[in-house]
């Protein structure tokens, strides 16, 4: 299947997971990510995989823990309220150093919120999400093709660094249809000598656990884990720079907000305003370097978000508040229009003159 097909983001993600070697999916339906489960329900039985609709989100994430312990590629998917339910299990996965792939197709919040698209789980996902000192890798696709590509990447990174990886999408990204090319993926094979697969009386027992009876040992484990996180921050940050070479204003946005912003940047360029865009592709690790570098050249940043302003804090941290960072946002399931973003760009550009 190397040729082009027309897919919804949710379907592309599900198919890519299968192509990444995932044969275990555990989930619980919730709008707007239900197509992931629907696709898996149709495909998994045909390829000898396991699709299981759990009795709850909490059950699903603990099934993920089980399969991850056995060293197999495994995933679950949900949307904002369901991810909150899964956070306890995600903390346990992180505490047990287990690779797993998690999808959050965000909807408006807080609480039950609504079913329309949102990016307001940025804090939750980039700060770990559950209790304790930990991070997960967070990938933010901005096209259906990236929904697929970053899924394969997510499985690879999770295995390589023995930690959960998440695709943080939003309702529009999950529902929109675009042509996508698949079939040339070469997923990494990572040895998992720690997996609980039976000793065959030939090796000592492996133990997968997140409970430490000795605080010194827990502290040491946390230090070791953060040393690994430092490597990830060094090596794995991904971003796209768009028209940044001569930019005086830097728009920053991820996911669907970056699609809208791209149009606004082009419209502003057509009016002679020197504006570019930095689009983080990994939200954790946040691509700090290009922002720090841009802060030396541009006069201002505009963070475009489908939230009350969450990524804006990482922009301020990465730039050490060298330049003002303005917010252009909608929330609660609403999406900024290209016109709204353009107006903000003009407002800031006008103030600079």
């Amino acid at each position: 299947m190397a040729d082009k097909v027309l897919m919804k983001g949710n379907e592309a993600l599900a198919e890519a997971a299968i192509q990444a070697g995932c044969r275990h999916y555990f989930g619980y339906p919730i709008t707007p990510q239900t197509e992931v489960a629907a696709y898996m329900a149709k495909r998994m039985p045909k390829i000898g995989g396991c699709f299981l609709q759990a009795e709850s989100e909490i059950a699903a994430i603990n099934m993920v823990y089980g399969v991850a312990s056995a060293g197999k590629r495994v995933m679950t998917s949900s949307s904002s309220p369901g991810i909150s339910l899964k956070e306890e299990g995600i903390s346990y996965l992180a505490g047990a150093d287990l690779p797993a792939f998690i999808v959050n197709v965000q909807r408006g919040g807080p609480g039950l919120g609504g079913i329309q698209p949102s990016q307001s789980d940025y804090f939750q996902s980039t700060r770990g999400g559950g209790h304790g000192d930990y991070h997960i890798i967070v990938l933010a696709p901005s096209s259906v093709q990236e929904m697929a590509d970053l899924t394969v990447k997510g499985f690879d990174l999770a295995d390589e660094y023995r930690m959960p990886a998440m695709v943080l999408a939003d309702g529009t990204m999950g529902q929109m249809m675009e042509p996508v090319t698949m079939g040339s993926y070469q997923p990494k094979t990572v040895e998992k000598p720690w997996a609980v697969t039976g000793t065959r009386m030939q090796r000592p027992h492996n133990i997968v656990n997140s409970l430490y009876l000795n605080p010194e040992e827990l502290e040491r484990t946390n230090f070791e884990r953060y040393a690994r996180y430092a490597v990830i921050e060094q090596k794995e940050a991904m971003y796209e720079a768009f028209l940044m070479d001569d930019a005086d204003i830097c728009v920053t946005a991820f996911g669907i907000a970056s699609r809208v912003s791209r149009n606004a940047v082009l419209a502003a360029r057509a009016e002679g305003i020197k504006v570019g865009m930095l689009r983080p592709i990994t939200l954790w690790p946040f691509p700090k370097a290009p922002f720090a570098e841009a802060a030396d050249r541009v006069s201002a940043f505009i963070s475009v978000e489908l939230s009350m302003g969450q990524m804006i804090e990482d922009v301020e941290l990465a730039t050490r508040c060298k330049r003002p960072v303005y917010l252009c946002n909608r929330t609660g399931g609403m999406i900024p229009s290209p016109e709204q973003v353009l107006a903000k760009i003009k407002e800031i550009a006008g103030g600079l003159k």
């Binding site: 097909v5 669907i256 290209p338």
Partner: protein, 225 residues
Amino acid sequence: MNDSLTHRRVTLFAGHYGSGKTNIAVNWALALRKTGAPVTIVDLDIVNPYFRTKDSKQELDTAGVELISSPYANSNVDFPALPQEIYGAVERRDRLAVLDIGGDDRGALALGRYAPYILEENDFEMLFVANCFRPLTRTPQEAFEVLREIEAAGGIPFTGIVNNSNLGNDTTADDILAAQDYAAALCALSGLPLRLSTVKETLIPQLTGRVPSLFPLRLQAKYYE
């Protein structure tokens, strides 16, 4: 193209989810309206919470096409409700009706409620929309499977095939031409005639005379393109 526009009183579009039913139904209703006839379009989708007939409300209003849609479509209420006015559209025989059915057999379940009225009047076309570039209907056999499932769920037999094979905005004339065999095979499998070949309007000049029963589609502009 005028040939394609011959019609019965009720036109129903059903198919795999994401096959393009809503877009075709809107374009079809607008084309019928241009002939001067009173037209009602009904959104019978109880499955998909995003991308609904209601997205075209302004255009339909302007053209004078009556839209009957769930009051909850495009809202935060994830509620598979169908408004009572749908009975009116099915029973008012002085108006043309275009029904946009939800995806797959699950979506077609809602049709079962209205099927007896439509069958009794017996002035309908039930069209199966297929796109060979969609992952779960890539082969004629797979599409035929979905067709049978929808018939079983909706209670109305299909009368024709709509070949809507496309890759969205990236579709080329070659893609359309390459999909001809697929459509022919699906027609052979189902014993149904090819009713329409739906193509985005910009490709019509390249395909006129090369593809049967061409029907031009205007695609909805999206804020992220």
